[in-house]
């Protein structure tokens, strides 16, 4: 049975490991891992910024104060209504240089954070509105003022509701962070781009990078599942 011969398996292994694409990936794998680490770092900071912005903008959109409502709506509309790629260039080359001596890494985090903040705001707003009106009324009748009721009663419940869409947003943001490659942030996609430009091994290079992205997004979704289980009340 020559097909099951152990030398046949070795021959396949040998064919793979001696291919030009494999060598390129093997040589650059640690470099790619470094890029993946960069991607995680950028995404984590952007998510943190997005959560803070999103909370304020989301509450702002529920505010009865017309000015706060207007500012929140304008912010959300702009960052949801224009392409992230455009925002990155607008901020990096246009707006941020007027404010400070911007570097590509901090600009990337600001752009991704502002963008995700707009999406998170809508997610949180929907979550808050999904909580039964009776909860607010009950909290108020216990003597809490509106702020106390919001912070102590509504938001904790809303948080549970919004975990799945938030996880979606985190995954989307991690993938979208590949766009900051264009302003030379050395994250995973940028590193893949650089290796590809010199080796032309599209399948191997971008295949490897896809796998690394997949590992990262799958990890986030598993963390989300875990959080959902832990917070389940029924």
């Amino acid at each position: 049975m020559p097909l099951l011969d152990s030398t046949f398996g070795l021959a396949i292994l040998d064919a793979i490991t001696s291919s030009a694409g494999f060598k390129v990936v093997a040589k650059n794998f640690v470099y790619f891992l470094g890029g993946a680490w960069y991607t995680i770092f950028i995404t984590a900071l952007s998510v943190a910024m997005g959560m803070v912005l999103g909370l304020f903008a989301g509450l702002g959109k529920l505010s009865k104060n017309k000015i706060i409502y207007g500012i929140s709506t304008a912010y959300i509309d702009f960052f949801r209504g224009t392409p992230l790629f455009v925002q990155i260039f607008l901020l990096y080359f246009g707006v941020l240089p007027l404010i400070y001596d911007n570097d590509s890494l901090s600009s990337a985090i600001i752009a991704l954070g502002l963008n995700s903040g707009a999406y998170i705001a809508e997610i949180l707003r929907a979550g808050i509105q999904a909580i039964d009106k009776g909860q607010m009324e009950a909290a108020r009748s216990l003597g809490m003022n509106e702020r106390q009721a919001m912070v102590l009663v509504i938001l904790p419940q809303a948080f549970k509701v919004v975990i799945p869409p938030l996880i979606n947003e985190f995954i989307a943001l991690l993938k979208d962070s590949s766009l900051v490659s264009a302003i030379t942030v050395a994250e995973l996609m940028h590193r893949g781009d650089l290796v590809f430009a010199n080796t032309y091994q599209a399948t191997w290079v971008f295949g490897t990078i896809s796998l690394l992205y997949l590992v990262m997004t799958k990890t986030i979704s598993m963390l989300g599942d875990y959080a959902e289980r832990r917070l389940a009340t029924e």
Partner: protein
């Protein structure tokens, strides 16, 4: 509300049908073109990266520049109907390799690395690299001074390869690689990098045409063996011969010089 939704759906349907009709008529036109006409022009799909003036750039709905004039002129004398496609510079060689485009003309230097993947025509332009710095910069006078500085270049170019060499020699060098050279110049203008290493004609053209630029060129042109060629798929001897013949004809009948003086 119901009516509104209905209206929207109807509008969408009309749009889709309109697109379908346009698509059909476009198809007809193509069919007509592919019928053997009097000249029976073969189609030549040429890839470029139209962010590299004066060699290739976008103007309205069309591509212009030295390379564009050249390849169209070659098409004329060799009986090709030239179709230009824009893509990332780094995608050009793989696209030629995989047959997505027939040839690539994009101020592309003939390098040993690229020759492993594609074939090149005879060189049609001698370029060479040059350093561009901020006009107040006194530190950088020549290639020697690039070590340990912040450098920018375009991905996949020999300028980028040169920057990586500098970084190899001195690890404190920071190399920033952009997808197009315009962004690299922007970075220089805003002070994010100390120098841009790029093909001389393109940098010279940028400094000539950019308004309010803070950049200047320093030092001599280096990598003087930097020559541009048109890339075709490896082993496509027929096309290679046709392009080389066309190039030779243009040089002979003065068209090449005409195009050259138009852009430089």
């Amino acid at each position: 509300m119901r009516n509104f939704v209905k209206l929207m759906l109807a509008g969408l349907l009309v749009l889709i049908m309109a697109f379908a009709l346009v698509g059909c008529s476009g198809q007809d036109k193509n069919d007509a073109q592919s019928e053997p006409g009097p000249s029976e022009a073969k189609k030549l799909v040429v890839g470029t990266n139209a962010t590299f003036p004066p060699f290739e750039m976008q103007e309205g709905n069309d591509f212009t520049g030295f390379d564009m004039d050249l390849i169209r002129a070659i098409g004329e004398v060799q009986g090709f109907e030239v179709e230009i496609k824009h893509m990332d510079f780094k995608a050009l060689v793989p696209s030629v390799q995989s047959g997505k485009i027939d040839a690539a003309i994009a101020g592309m230097s003939i390098t040993p690395d690229r020759l492993e993947s594609v074939d090149f025509t005879e060189s049609y332009f001698d370029a060479g690299l040059i350093i561009a710095v901020h006009k107040d910069n006194q530190d950088i006078q020549s290639t020697e001074d690039l070590k340990g500085k912040k450098l920018a270049a375009q991905n996949g170019t020999i300028g980028a390869a040169y920057c990586e060499e500098v970084k190899k020699a001195d690890a404190s060098t920071e190399v920033r690689i952009f997808d197009d050279i315009g962004a690299a110049f922007m970075e220089l203008e805003k002070g994010g990098v100390d120098a841009v290493v790029n093909d001389h004609p393109v940098t010279a053209y940028y400094l000539k045409t950019a308004t309010d630029t803070n950049a200047k060129m320093v030092g001599d042109i280096f990598s003087a063996d930097d020559q541009y060629g048109i890339a075709v798929k490896k082993g496509n001897a027929e096309l290679l011969k046709a392009l080389n013949e066309g190039l030779a004809k243009l040089k002979e009948n003065g068209t090449y010089d005409e195009i050259y003086s138009k852009w430089f």
